[in-house]
């Protein structure tokens, strides 16, 4: 596409992509029992658990359904998908290698809430400046990692979503999954 094409587009044109992405991510997560394969990275584990919020429509015409449950497979959520609702937020558990994070992901603004970091072996509250800096840098790195991973997952989604294969293959498989 030409420069003119990019200039004509606004981020508000694509606001629907956040919810479509999170809905697709739920499908991908269940498709291979929580494992998602990312090109050039490998497998990551992603589980939807405890809580999902689905919504249809915008503003005063919106209808929201929230499903909670520690061990539920969030069946009500799939029923809501059948009614045309899409995921607005979800509590996710992400594992990369031996590190595990838990966070609530808000699809409309790509925001992260109440993120629990991987447990680290405490080396004590040392006053040593270099150690303190090292701890802080590691903490920042641990925040960046799942954030970057969600962006990579979005890129995978967007690539699929913008090809004809989306309508001919991915979407029918998704529909089959939530009507099952």
């Amino acid at each position: 596409m030409g420069e003119q094409g990019i200039m004509d587009m606004e981020k508000s044109d694509f606001i629907f992509l956040g919810r479509e992405f999170l809905t697709w991510l739920w499908f991908k997560s269940e498709e291979r029992n929580g494992s998602i394969l990312i090109e050039n990275i490998g497998d990551i584990e992603l589980l939807f658990f405890q809580r999902i919020v689905l919504e249809s429509g915008e503003g005063e015409y919106s209808e929201t359904v929230a499903c909670r449950g520690l061990h539920a497979d969030l069946k009500e959520g799939k029923a809501a998908l059948k009614m045309g609702k899409r995921l607005k937020e979800a509590r996710l558990k992400m594992s990369i290698g031996s590190d595990e994070w838990e966070f609530t992901f808000k699809a409309d603004d790509f925001d992260f809430q109440s993120m629990k970091m991987p447990a680290r072996q405490e080396s004590g509250e040392s006053d040593d400046e270099a150690e303190r800096e090292g701890r802080m840098l590691e903490r920042v790195y641990m925040i960046e990692k799942p954030m970057n991973m969600m962006e990579k997952l979005f890129a995978v989604f967007l690539k699929k979503r913008s090809t004809p294969l989306w309508s001919s293959e991915e979407l029918p498989r998704m529909e089959q999954w939530f009507t099952r």
Partner: protein
């Protein structure tokens, strides 16, 4: 809070604008210039400014304590005075009653009512302690993005305004479908999807 401890809640921004050579020196000057200052007069309702993220009482930023490798870490402090609406309503009623009795009036006109209300509001404001709140900022200088430790729209507004004023750069909320930040592959994909 929670960028440095506990669980973290945050939103991501892109930082738009050109960073001149010697930006770290400029940053050091500007963060000190726009550091948090206590509400000075009784009638001020809000004060915003930067503080250290490790010690929120530190607004001197000595030895560039905000610096962490490529990142700078600091805190936005917002102090706000809130008068509970029910209290304001009650105090206005009392003042109106007193005014009517003292002036032997049966009815108070609209203009007088507004004047009484403003006087009462100012009196209450002068005696109300401000409520402080703190929001961490972690800015990756060379990559031109930052995260802000809140999801509150009111705080976004205060943050964006103070950030622009402090550093002459514009923070823009980041979502990966924003065509303004799209690489060529993403832009082509978005163009296919534009409804």
């Amino acid at each position: 809070m929670g960028l440095l401890k506990g669980s973290a809640t945050f939103t991501r921004y892109r930082v738009i604008g050109e960073m001149q050579d010697g930006f770290r020196d400029f940053f050091d000057t500007q963060i000190k210039l726009h550091s948090f200052k206590e509400i000075s007069t009784g009638l001020e309702e809000k004060s915003t400014g930067w503080t250290s993220s490790e010690n929120v009482l530190d607004t001197d930023f000595q030895y560039a304590g905000y610096s962490l490798g490529d990142y700078v870490l600091f805190c936005l402090r917002i102090d706000r005075k809130n008068i509970p609406p029910a209290l304001l309503k009650l105090k206005v009623l009392e003042a109106e009653k007193k005014y009517a009795e003292e002036n032997n009036l049966k009815k108070i006109y609209k203009e007088q009512r507004a004047e009484i209300r403003e006087t009462v509001r100012r009196e209450l404001l002068a005696h109300t302690a401000p409520v402080p709140s703190f929001y961490e900022v972690c800015w990756a200088l060379s990559e031109s993005w930052l995260i802000l430790g809140t999801l509150s729209a009111n705080v976004f507004e205060d943050f964006e305004e103070l950030f622009k004023r402090s550093f002459n750069l514009i923070p823009v909320h980041f979502v990966p479908w924003d065509p303004a930040f799209a690489d060529s592959e993403t832009a082509s994909a978005l163009a296919m999807l534009k409804k």
